[in-house]
């Protein structure tokens, strides 16, 4: 009974968050637009020359994805904190880890996935070489869940603060550095025709590590924030 209950709670909470996102449709599109606009700023600020673009494209797209995720993270727990739903979630007899995972999954589906959908378009805009486009997409597919998982820890720590936004960036961006390094590098390597399996394995390893440890830290941080 308890196993069934836990799975049911996970699915219902996931469904709830997706439903909330759909009913707040207007907000859904903000991180996506941010991603597009930030990427666009680089040709404007640096150079539209395809050679230059190709060199910096991987990094630019990765950084834009990072920042877009950061922007969207605040929604993860803020609304629940404000209306008392977070307390209900934490008072559930089901493990906090499972419930946190449901919310983070919903966040990725709503934020990370759209980024993935738009990336092929941006790849063309940023002159990413054909040979590297699949790698770019793959690194983002592996990396954006890590960004959501690790970012959730930062949000959980700052949800009780009034102006947690700036602090959130400080807390979370250093933790994003390894994902950025391997993700962007993989794309550069693919463009040069070099093998990328090593980098992809590293990203996969980060994902597994984040999946196992981040929800624990997030649940602990939530309980602390709500004390």
């Amino acid at each position: 009974m308890s196993k069934h209950g836990m799975r049911h709670a996970f699915l219902i909470l996931l469904k709830r968050d997706l439903l909330l996102a759909v009913r707040n449709r207007g907000e859904l599109v903000n991180p996506l637009l941010f991603y597009l606009i930030v990427a666009t700023l680089f040709p404007l600020g640096v150079s539209p020359d395809p050679q230059t673009l190709a060199t910096m494209a991987a990094g630019v797209l990765w950084i834009a994805a990072l920042l877009a995720t950061l922007l969207s993270l605040d929604n993860l727990f803020r609304s629940d904190f404000d209306d008392g739903s977070l307390e209900l979630i934490l008072l559930s007899p089901h493990p906090g880890v499972v419930l946190v995972l449901a919310k983070v999954l919903a966040h990725w589906l709503v934020t990370g996935m759209p980024l993935l959908v738009v990336t092929p378009l941006l790849a063309v805009l940023m002159a990413v070489p054909e040979s590297a486009r699949a790698t770019l997409w793959l690194t983002l597919a592996l990396g954006t869940p890590v960004l959501s998982l690790v970012g959730a820890i930062g949000v959980a720590l700052t949800v009780g603060l009034r102006r947690g936004g700036a602090l959130l960036s400080l807390l979370v961006l250093p933790l994003y550095v390894p994902v950025l390094i391997f993700g962007a590098n993989a794309v550069g390597a693919a463009a040069a025709g070099l093998p990328v399996t090593g980098q992809l394995y590293m990203l996969g390893a980060f994902l597994v590590l984040a999946l196992s440890l981040a929800p624990l830290a997030t649940a602990a941080a939530l309980r602390i924030s709500i004390d």
Partner: protein, 245 residues
């Protein structure tokens, strides 16, 4: 036995005991610093490659070591505070953060100063300096979180979670940055990667490392004492202290 450990964790006894220890630690630190600096700046011979400018390693390297050591200690103290609710552990963690950040900053500055005679520029994005920079941001995160939460207990618990997450990430970040820097063929700062380091340089280096450790403990005790007074200001013994002296 249990009462002894309990006493050790009691802020009031800590305050008393640290008061006795502090002058000894202070003098020991001063002595070792003088010995180390003398050994490094005066007695050790000039490097055949870098001449006199290498001498900054006697400050740069121990600083870098300490920056990591203090972070690990801070995370460990935070963990103890989280799991066993020992107030003193929270105090140690809170007091350590700025000290560790200062060591990190010192490592960055000395690394940068070393860079000028070596590569003609004040900053290069090499593995060690970049890692230290990210470490500095991690420290700022912990300090920022401490400052942002009003209730000191909650702040300590939150900062402890963050420090533990950081501690897990530090090896990953370090490895990633190192890997990244090898790809870009940048110059490296390392004097120590040379086949072997001469004893006349190694000994002052180790003395400086020990001196820095003692320096950390001295300053930690000083900051911790203040932190304890502030956290326990509602309690009777602190009010007596304030009235008495």
């Amino acid at each position: 036995m249990w009462t002894f450990i309990h006493k050790l964790g009691s802020p009031r006894h800590f305050y008393r005991i640290s008061g006795y220890l502090l002058p000894w630690l202070g003098w020991a630190t001063a002595l070792l610093l003088v010995a180390g600096l003398y050994g490094g700046l005066v007695k050790a011979p000039p490097d055949y490659q870098q001449g006199e400018s290498y001498r900054i390693i006697f400050i740069h390297v121990p600083s870098a070591w300490m920056s990591l050591f203090v972070y690990v200690l801070m995370a460990a103290a935070g963990a103890v505070g989280l799991v066993w609710r020992i107030k003193l552990a929270d105090v140690v963690a809170a007091a350590s953060a700025p000290i560790g950040a200062s060591f990190t900053f010192l490592a960055l500055v000395t690394g940068s100063l070393w860079g000028k005679p070596m590569w003609g520029t004040y900053w290069v994005w090499d593995a060690r300096l970049t890692s230290e920079l990210v470490l500095l941001f991690l420290y700022f995160g912990v300090m920022g979180l401490h400052a942002a939460i009003e209730d000191k207990r909650t702040a300590s618990r939150a900062a402890a979670v963050l420090a533990l997450v950081g501690v897990v990430n530090i090896p990953i970040i370090h490895f990633s940055v190192q890997w990244w820097s090898t790809l870009h063929q940048g110059p490296t700062v390392s004097k120590l990667d040379a086949p072997s380091i001469h004893l006349s340089m190694l000994v002052p280096l180790l003395i400086m490392a020990l001196a820095f450790k003692l320096f950390y403990f001295t300053v930690l005790l000083m900051r911790a004492r203040t932190e304890v007074l502030e956290r326990e200001r509602a309690s009777a013994w602190v009010r007596e202290l304030a009235r008495g002296t």
